[in-house]
């Protein structure tokens, strides 16, 4: 797991998992798996933009692009 995967995973776990939930993997489906609702993507997007000093256009911030830690990292790399 690289630094970015680690950072994103940690954020997602802290932000979205309840205390008794199981841990996430980098390929765990987040939105289609019901862990992150598409609504809560707002704060995730904001976190990524602040952390990596990037701007992700709304049309790129699709539920598919945010559906796993791996997908998110790929998306972020497009804009770094």
């Amino acid at each position: 797991m690289d630094e970015m995967q680690k950072a994103v995973l940690e954020y997602v776990e802290n932000e979205y998992l309840e205390d008794d939930d199981e841990e996430l993997e980098v390929d765990t489906p987040l939105i289609s798996g019901g862990i992150v609702d598409s609504f809560s993507m707002v704060s995730l997007k904001r976190f990524l933009e602040n952390k990596y000093n990037i701007s992700i256009p709304d049309e790129k911030a699709t539920p598919e692009a945010f559906d796993s830690v791996n997908n998110i990292c790929e998306l972020v790399k497009e804009f770094i």
Partner: protein
């Protein structure tokens, strides 16, 4: 005709997908007034079956109360059937304002405006009072109608973990730069039956200079000592800036809703909320019925007291029998089964035993948290609850889940 074969097939495919996911909803026809004892036609065409209703929002048993029906008849006789107009043209009667005043007094707020439904109140209120300089911070389990209202509003949106006050505070700090911050929550969460920590929410709002919005649809009429709602239970009467609630549940159960709270906010709803501006409001017959409901509730707390007693009795019975319940102290008592198919099978078996209670599963509740949601009413008598309990135990034994923990049930049936 533009509804071509291919368009029809497109829609048929979507319906098939819904069926394939096991989330296709079928209506059950009730051939009786809403009450604890009802006669149901299900599936369509089947002969009528007498069942005990354990899943209505008729918390106070007022939906078919003779006094309410009488008041509705009088409303029909004296104020007619329909208004054929929106409120601000020629669709407001004296009784509409009378009901608004009575709700203001009942909820202990500054002013109230009626809406065709609470869904409409929630859909309209945020857009009317917030703009892009503001932020809405909502509990992650708020009702779908609030989510729709949030979507229609230009203000930014963020969420906090369900009833997690430290997470809420983090979000209030994160959005400290906004013109207005509104904390948005349900009073009683309809799927879990727990209450929002209104006292802590109000304290955080005061500390961080935020407004508080609560949807008390599953509270108004019975939560709190005199049934005013969660703000009464948590001793923060007069401190909630915006309350929305419905007349479609405990308060007569017909339809209609309202926004109640700070008078300037209510006034802005009258001026700007689209469901108020572009739809007829509640029909006179319903307004008359709700006025009578509020009179009944203001005279005595007998019905909410009986409801509390019934709910405690039911919760204790299920707990003693060995079911896993969601913790809470409201008349919403979810019996946890975790697995979606098990919740459906359990519901079907209950129906065969004469008990009408529905299984809920993803996406209505999170994956792995399927349940039978039971809802208790002041219209239930002990014999209803005893018969329902007997049926739950019989079906619980069949699936061997009594006395089993969450983990043991999931080990057998899966998430």
């Amino acid at each position: 005709m533009s509804f071509s074969k291919s368009i029809r097939e497109l829609y048929q495919q979507e319906i098939k997908e819904i069926q394939g996911q096991g989330i296709f909803k079928e209506e059950r026809f009730i051939h009786a007034p809403q009450a604890a004892d009802i006669e149901v036609e299900f599936p369509t065409g089947a002969s009528l079956k007498k069942v005990i209703n354990m899943c209505s929002n008729n918390y106070l048993g007022l939906s078919s109360h003779p006094d309410v029906i009488k008041a509705a008849h009088e409303g029909l006789d004296h104020r007619g059937y329909g208004m054929s107009s929106v409120r601000f043209i020629c669709g407001t009667q004296d009784i509409h304002r009378e009901l608004e005043n009575k709700m203001t007094e009942f909820l202990g707020t500054e002013d109230t405006v009626l809406f065709p439904s609470c869904m409409d109140a929630n859909a309209g209120v945020f857009e009317a009072i917030l703009n892009e300089n503001d932020v809405m911070i909502s509990d992650r389990l708020v009702h779908a109608s609030i989510i729709d209202g949030i979507r229609l509003c230009k203000a930014q949106h963020d969420t906090y973990k369900h009833s997690n006050m430290s997470h809420l505070e983090q979000k209030l700090e994160l959005h400290a730069d906004k013109r207005l911050k509104v904390i948005i929550t349900d009073g009683v969460f309809s799927m879990d039956g727990d209450t929002a920590k209104m006292d802590e929410i109000v304290a955080l709002a005061e500390k961080h200079d935020a407004l508080v919005f609560v949807d008390d649809s599953h509270s108004s009429g019975f939560i709190g000592k005199t049934g005013r709602g969660t703000h009464e239970q948590y001793n923060v009467l007069g401190k909630i800036d915006i309350i929305t609630t419905t007349f479609g549940k405990a308060l007569g159960g017909a339809s209609g809703g309202c926004v109640s709270g700070r008078k300037e906010i209510v006034e802005l709803c009258r001026q700007k909320a689209r469901p108020y501006l572009f739809s007829n409001t509640m029909a006179p017959v319903i307004v008359s019925g709700v006025i009578r409901v509020l009179d009944i509730l203001s005279q005595s707390t007998e019905r909410r007291d009986k409801l509390e007693e019934n709910a405690n009795y039911w919760r204790k019975g299920l707990t003693d029998a060995g079911f896993v319940l969601k913790e809470g102290d409201t008349p919403i008592v979810p019996v946890m089964l975790f697995n979606a198919k098990l919740s459906q099978d359990f519901s079907k078996d209950l129906y065969q035993e004469g008990i009408y209670a529905i299984g809920f599963f993803f996406p209505v509740v999170p994956k792995g948290q399927a349940r039978i949601r039971t809802q208790i009413s002041a219209g239930h008598e002990k014999h209803h609850l005893d018969k329902a309990l007997e049926a739950f135990i019989k079906v619980g034994k069949k699936y061997d889940i009594l006395g089993k923990t969450k983990k043991e049930i999931i080990d057998v049936y899966g998430m």
